[in-house]
Structure formats: structure tokens, C-alpha cells
Symmetry: C2
Subunit: 312 residues, 2 copies
Amino acid sequence: MSPEVRQASADQAEFLAALIEAGLLLESGVPGVYGHSDTFEEIRERLAERLSAEASSRGAERLRFPPVLPRRQLESSGYLASFPHLAGSVYSFEGDEADARVQADRAAAHEDWSEFQHPTELTMMPAACYPVYPAIARRGRLPAGGVFVDAGGAWVFRHEPSHDPMRRQIFHQHELVRIAEPDAVLEWRDEWANRGLELLRGFGLAAELDVANDPFFGRRGRMLARNQQAERLKLELLVPIAGPEPTACASFNHHRDHFGSNYGIELSDGSTAHTACLGFGHERIVLGLLRTHGFDPATWPAAVRAELWPDR
Amino acid sequence: MSPEVRQASADQAEFLAALIEAGLLLESGVPGVYGHSDTFEEIRERLAERLSAEASSRGAERLRFPPVLPRRQLESSGYLASFPHLAGSVYSFEGDEADARVQADRAAAHEDWSEFQHPTELTMMPAACYPVYPAIARRGRLPAGGVFVDAGGAWVFRHEPSHDPMRRQIFHQHELVRIAEPDAVLEWRDEWANRGLELLRGFGLAAELDVANDPFFGRRGRMLARNQQAERLKLELLVPIAGPEPTACASFNHHRDHFGSNYGIELSDGSTAHTACLGFGHERIVLGLLRTHGFDPATWPAAVRAELWPDR
């Protein structure tokens, strides 16, 4: 079944309409896909700079990746077993000139033109940390102490159309990744969960840290979700923005040796690396700021402005 | 037919190997899809800032868009008639839990898992200016003098796998768009073609301005290309980087009333707007700089550094 478009709560719908009316978000015609105004991007970029500065001052190496992933890597990752409903894959034309004409005619009439579309070697990026692991694995054994990567605010795709402005099909996920000894990784994850909490509270957001689970698919997924909760593998920063539930604005994920084994990442002593990643949702945090402090950043509390515009 | 991977010339292959060896580009396993190092991104971001500053000082409004386009918009645009071989479309899973298990098993074995993948409402972004036109059309009649939009360095997709490092499947295209009266638009396009030429020469690149054509598909495409050339609708900045031909690093495109009619964009007097767009290829310009001045920006000529790092 094609996914239903999730309806928004009354206050979510009102918030989205106000964002569009103010020009902060630009409608595309597809729910969960929006353009950004200059003001929206100015806030988002300041947030990205702040997160990268926090990482850089603690030794992070900056790497950047495009919004697509090799199909082979998605296949090997196990993502399709857990999140088949969220994954996107990239198709392209195969055919001759006559086929191209038929395809163009059908498309112009908004009819089905899938006949000549075939899978490419690429899929949409499911999570911003995915390309980090093979890139680090390719370097060979890690230096003592492991590595810390800032993968920046990268575009990621989730096929979950919704009229809730906090639920995007495509958004910037700012990922920080740690690859190291088991204890060091867990300690780093917990330290950053608390740093993230302080950071969001410093922005004047009513953030709370909680144990969480991923939106695994189906009945088997409900069991995976319970295990993930019980083992505290995923922590989230929740912020009330609009709607009956608070919105997850950041997550802090402990993978144990899942990616280390999958990609053959070795510590300096040859043992398998553990990994953890943090993901800050740029758009959700910007929406939290706009909802909490108003649509004009010039009128935000001085303490909040000082956090995001330290040089003004 | 599935596209063959284009082979690189000897010097292109050597350049790509050196970029990977130096860590400036990170291999993904798919030709034309790479990650970027901190140094690569630092140069790219300085270039983006410089282009946006040139636009902003001349009154451009900054808007930003994601790397996907509504399928309906691609269908209406005529893109599939001209460039079916370059377009990408986004597919996603439809099915129940049993289907999901079959799909996951096939994917894990690197077998064909296309059975349960169906077209979504989205395609890959073919050109960074595409979302600008409907966003401006939605505002109603334009103010006198029209509009000037800086759409920034947005990710665009072209399905043309190649071992030439200058030919990416996904890259940052920095688009500036002018929507106004016919004379104003043509004048703006030509003025920016000369500004772009000066800018690239100021970076120490041996750029030349030439009349060009798009890579239209098939036999009909060759006729379209000849017409485009004869009417000087497309200008390009060509820079020798590697390979037998210079590389197009920027293009300056006059659309006449194509997008204005298509999206119903009206000037202040109610007549149909003309449009033009400029696209600077971030990665190609960065590669031109690295090839011309060496892999360490600290050792670049002072005059080039002053253009990109004016505050140092």
C-alpha cells in the first residue's frame, strides 16, 4: 500500500500555514517538501556552525557527503529489513529514442511513465552517518583513540509524507560520529546527549532527554523497538513545538559493533571498533526556535541570539 | 540500454587518483559520487560565499531548495523530452510485512528487489533553478523591475556515470535566476557572463566564454542543440582542467518566455515574464583551482587567496 499522507493536528496545521504565509517555508506541492527563505536559512546555518564548532573544538574531522548512497551499501546495511517504508531508491531511463518519446508523452499527460524506468546504482541517503563508516574503514586500522567525524548538515530522505511541518520527507540531519573502543564510544554518546540538552535549553527550548526507539517496520519491528528501549541504545531530545506529542529534535545512538563489524573497521589493536552517532535535525530545531521565540529573529531574547550570533 | 560508464582520459584518471590519494575526494564505490574532505569543502564554501555576495550586493533574494522536485513539476517542464537519459526519479516500497521480508532478503543477497518499489511523488532535482519558478509564480504579479533570486549551491542529479572527476552524478549547482522584462533579462544574462569570466580569471583559471548547447537526447536533440547554438541561448565558461576538451564550469541560459509561460509568471503590467539563469558548478571550479594551483590552498598565489579568503 502507498503510504497515506499523515494528517496534522490543528495546531500543527495552523503553524504550517503561518510559516508559509510568512514566507519562511515555500510550498512545493508535495507534503513534507519545502523551500526555505533567507531568514529560515540564516537560522539554520547559524545552528550548523554552532554544532560544527562544538565538534571541532573537541577534535572532530569535517567530512561531507552527497544526498545519495550506493545501492550496494544500502543492501548490505540491513536498513531495508528495519525501515523498508522509509527508504527511497533512484531510478532512471533505459531505452531508445522511441521509448523516450513514449515516456515524455506519458509524463506530459501525467500518466504512468514507469515502464522505461529502472534501478540505478544509487538510493536516497537514509541517514547522514552511513557514508562515514566505509570511508573510515578504507583508511585501515584506526589510530589510538579512534576517530570523531563531523558529517555536517547533510540531506536525508524518509518516505513519510505528512502535513505536520516537523515531519519532512527530506531534511538536514547534522551527524557527529565516533568510532573507537567500546567504553570511549558509550561515554562520548552520553556526554554529547547532555551537551545537546544544554545546547537546546540554551536556545530557550524546553528540551527533555529521554530513552527512545526507532520507527521499525511491522510486528518484528515492535520487538526490535522494545529491545532498543530496554538496552538504552537510543536517546532523544524532545521539544514541545506543536501537536499532542513533543518532537524529537536530536538523537544519540549507540550501535555497539554493528557498523564496525559490517564494514570491518579495526581499532589500533586489530579488534572491531564500536560506533555511536548523534543526529541533530536542523529544520526541527529551527521550527522549535520560530515557534518558541516568534518569526523574527531580531526580536528573540538576547541570550538566545548570543548563542546563535555570537559575533554580533 | 543502461548507460555505459564513460571512461576517463589518462590525465583525468591520474587527476582523480591523486585527489583520492590526497583524501580530497572520498570514493563511494559508484563513479561520479564522492565525499569531500574538509579542505575541499572549505574551498567550495568560500566560492559559494563569494558568488552569493556578488548576487546579494546586486539585490538578489536568497532562497534555498532540497535536492528533490515534485514529479508533477518534472512532468510539466518538458525536461523528460529533452534529457530523459539524465533524469532520476525516486521510488519507494509499497507492500505488506511479507513483501518487506522478501525485499530485504533479495537486497541482502544483492539480487533484484525492484518488485515492491513504486514511483513516489518525487524525482531528483534536475537543475537548481526549477523550484524557483513556481515559488515566484505563487506570489502573483511581479513588482516593477522583476526579481533576482540566489538559489545557492543546491544538489542536482545527472545520471551520467563517468570516471572523469569533473563529471559527477550529483553535484552543487549554484544558480542565480532573473525573472523580468525581456530586455532586462537578456542584458542581465550577458552582464553576468562577463562578470563570471572576470571572476574565474581572478581565481587564476584560464577561462574562456563561448556559445554552447545542452546535451539534448537523440536525433531530435541534435536539431535542438543546433538551434540553441544559433540563437546564442546558452553561453558557457570553459576552463582547461584535464582531458582533451576544456570543462564547462558555468553556464548562462536565456529561456525567453519558456518558464514564464509554463508557470504563468506575470510582470507588473500582466504580460508574461522572461527568465534567465546562471549555473556555476561548485565542484568543477574547485577542481579547476586544485589542478591549476595545487592541492594545498595555503600555497596558492596570494592574489587568488585574496579573492576567496578576503578576510584573512
